[in-house]
């Protein structure tokens, strides 16, 4: 049976999807700005963060209103809860993208420390994870979501490797410290973006199955093995 307030849930869903799209674009643009030294694009990324903040607020308000007035149960309840949590994650993704964009502006003023290889690689992985997690929102697919969780290790590994690499740069050539630190923070941001993508994937599993797979040791081990 259709209910008169079904439209409210539809708006809620589309707001969340819109947020996902914006967040993914932000990360992509931030990476682009970093790699090409495009200051304008970086500024765009910073400016666009407001939209994400707005969307997060709207989703929260709508979720609270829906829970208060419509007494959602089962799938609906999970959707509303997951919507709130995922919107928070996406907003954080946006913040990280902004942070990357700001650093990109600063780095653009200086010669590159080394060719951008690892950062685009890990960023692309993070973007793929984010896209896959959001895809699970549209088509409930636990396998795919669990795969996202497992991929978090890849990003973590690149981050660690970059950390070691950049540390040695700093030790060997103190003049690179500023740039190396910026890159280190960018790497950390990307690693966080991947973490948020992981969270979203876990939330999607909860949405489709009411299963909480967070901090599941078995899954983590499987990730290492894979």
């Amino acid at each position: 049976m259709k209910r008169f307030f079904d439209a409210e849930l539809e708006t809620f869903r589309s707001d969340l999807l819109r947020m996902g799209e914006v967040a993914v674009r932000q990360v992509r643009d931030a990476l682009q700005a970093l790699v090409t030294g495009d200051i304008k694009l970086a500024e765009q990324v910073i400016a666009a963060d407001d939209e994400l903040d707005e969307l997060e607020k709207r989703i929260d308000t709508e979720a609270i209103r829906y829970m208060n007035l419509r007494s959602p149960i089962a799938t609906e309840l999970r959707l509303v809860i997951v919507g709130m949590k995922a919107s928070h994650d996406l907003e954080r993704v946006g913040d990280e993208a902004t942070s990357i964009a700001k650093r990109a502006i600063r780095l653009a003023a200086e010669p590159p420390l080394k060719p951008y290889v690892d950062i685009p690689r890990m960023t692309n992985t993070a973007i793929e994870m984010l896209c896959a997690a959001l895809d699970c929102f549209i088509h409930a697919d636990n396998e795919k979501a669990i795969a996202v969780v497992k991929r978090d290790k890849e990003v973590d590994a690149i981050n660690k490797q970059l950390y070691r690499e950049l540390s040695s740069y700093m030790v060997e050539q103190p003049g690179t410290i500023t740039r190396a630190l910026e890159l280190m923070f960018i790497s950390k941001s990307v690693e966080r973006i991947a973490d948020h993508a992981t969270n979203i994937a876990e939330e999607m599993v909860f949405l489709s199955d009411a299963q909480d797979i967070r901090h599941d040791e078995a899954l983590k081990k499987a990730g290492k093995a894979g």
Binding site: S71, I73, A74, R78, D209
Partner: protein
């Protein structure tokens, strides 16, 4: 996860476990075992192949749309259906403590002393509060005044009604408010110390405050009694019960821990029903 909630096998291990599984050894063990039950009103089949294990000292909620058979099943449990002409259990059995209650050596009168019932419409007898409570014992032949007095106080305290009525025990039970009347009926039921209390939509005629009081009472009573409650209120089932059974068209569609039924029902019909999108 209760070993009892196995009507539909969960796809995966639910991580949310309802609390209170740690109390006494008896608690949670199967008390009522319904097996392959087919029940008929005359030629019309009302229940189809019901399999259900109801645990001891827990609250089990029966939910489902009107005419789905939940009240019928409830009334099977103390054989109140016997009062209706032409009813019969054609197949299967209901066992309470491993005794088939439709067996030849079971007297429904004795059964009903052990399996009490609270009705949808509160039905205090047009007698005094005292007489209402002692009715069950008096028909069993208890005459000792001290004993009766004790039971009246104990039952009224048990039904959280003592403080409200202790000064007017000899006034008519019908002078009480709707919620008090329903609690009087509960007190009357617990006065004969049954094991199981069946509640057939006990709050459907009550205002929210009275409903809340009855719900509080149910929460208290489950320490001593096994409670089965039929309700049309999803929120009530969610608040009060430990496990929930969803019925539709005389069939048991899903039986699981209440948390699972309301968070992640396995059956789309259950989902549609609990989220108010049925039909």
């Amino acid at each position: 996860m209760d070993s009892t909630a196995t009507a539909s096998v969960p796809r995966s291990r639910p991580l949310a476990t309802p609390p209170a599984s740690s109390a006494g050894a008896e608690r949670g063990a199967t008390l009522i075992d319904i097996k392959d039950l087919d029940f008929y009103y005359g030629a019309k089949q009302a229940l189809f192949d019901i399999n259900l294990q109801i645990p001891d000292k827990r609250v089990t909620a029966f939910i489902g749309p009107s005419g789905c058979g939940k009240s019928t099943l409830l009334r099977c449990l103390n054989r109140m259906n016997d009062l209706i002409d032409g009813t019969s259990v054609k197949r299967g059995a209901i066992k309470i403590r491993n005794v088939d209650i439709y067996g030849r050596d079971v007297d429904p009168i004795e059964l009903r002393k052990r399996v009490g019932m609270v009705f949808q419409k509160s039905n205090p007898f047009p007698k005094s509060i005292y007489e209402n409570i002692t009715y069950g014992l008096r028909i069993q032949g208890v005459k000792n005044k001290t004993r009766l007095d004790e039971v009246v106080e104990k039952s009224l305290r048990g039904a959280a009604l003592w403080d409200e009525v202790k000064d007017r025990l000899h006034e008519s039970g019908l002078g009480l408010s709707g919620g008090q009347q329903q609690r009087l009926c509960i007190a009357r039921t617990i006065a004969v110390e049954p094991e199981v209390i069946l509640m057939d939509e006990p709050c459907s005629a009550l205002d929210p405050i009275a409903t809340a009081k009855v719900e509080e009472l149910i929460h208290e009573l489950k320490k001593q009694f096994t409670i089965i409650i039929v309700t049309h209120s999803m929120q009530q089932a969610a608040r009060c019960s430990d496990q929930t059974a969803f019925f539709y068209m005389g069939k048991l569609i899903e039986f699981d821990a209440t948390h699972n039924i309301f968070m992640n029902p396995k059956n789309p019909q259950t989902e549609a029903y609990v989220s108010g999108r049925f039909g």
